[in-house]
């Protein structure tokens, strides 16, 4: 099975998240089937940010939406590029002792 670097990394991310050593090759097969959008979504999260439940759901269904990868990517794409200006925190008034 020949995967490119991005696919191989995505397969490793899922494999590490799943915690099932024997599933390594199965994740390669699942990623080989997946589209580039799914691979991008997994790589955006990266190691440590994909949960075992998500990795498990993906290997059982091969469905990036069921695993929550694509929906998360779409939500990220909808966010405006510039972060909204934060409202200034209300200043605390220091209590002064009445003289």
């Amino acid at each position: 099975m020949q995967l490119n670097d991005r696919q191989q990394t995505a397969a490793n991310v899922l494999w590490l998240a799943a915690g099932k050593p024997q599933w390594r090759n199965l994740y390669k097969h699942a990623i080989a089937e997946a589209d580039s959008e799914t691979v991008d979504a997994i790589l955006e999260r990266g190691t440590g940010h994909v949960t075992a439940e998500q990795a498990d759901a993906f290997i059982r269904t091969r469905d990036p939406i069921a695993a929550g990868f694509v929906a998360a990517a779409e939500a990220a794409a909808e966010e405006p590029a510039e972060e909204p200006a934060e409202e200034p925190a209300p200043k605390r008034k220091r209590k002064t002792k009445k003289e």
Binding site: M1, Q22, L26, H29, E33, I59
Partner: protein, 130 residues
């Protein structure tokens, strides 16, 4: 057949001998998680394993290492968790299917692979129980 390279020679040997029902292979029933059951030709190696779980249980597991073609006719093209494999009644009178473990033990080029199926037979939990 003219064999030109090692990969082709290997595939030819597997198909003509190892996966030939005249020699070492058997016909079983593949029960995919999605789709209908169908016959597949496999070379199966049976093994009895014992697993010790984190909870302290001792599990006896029957493992079947299945060499099979990667196709959707007489092989398996898309192994998934939840797939099952049933040996013929002559080889397995119990007729209990093996579950796909999720392990692809080896990939032989792009034409064949070895899948691990298993089934639990017994779990021992503490003294005096089984």
């Amino acid at each position: 057949m003219t064999v030109t390279d090692f990969a082709s020679l290997r595939a030819a040997v597997i198909d003509d001998a190892i996966l030939s029902t005249d020699y070492f292979a058997e016909t079983g029933t593949y029960l995919p998680k999605e789709g209908e059951a169908r016959s597949v030709i496999v070379n199966a190696r049976f093994k009895l394993d014992t697993n010790y779980t984190d909870e302290g249980d001792e599990e006896t597991v029957e493992t079947l290492q299945v060499l099979v073609k990667r196709n959707s006719t007489d092989g398996i093209d898309r192994p998934m968790i939840g797939d099952r494999f049933l040996r013929s009644e002559a080889r397995d009178p119990s007729q209990r299917p093996f579950m796909f473990s999720g392990e692809i033990a080896a990939e032989i080029g792009t034409t064949h692979y070895k899948l691990i199926f298993w089934r639990h037979t017994e779990t021992g939990r503490g003294a005096g129980q089984s």
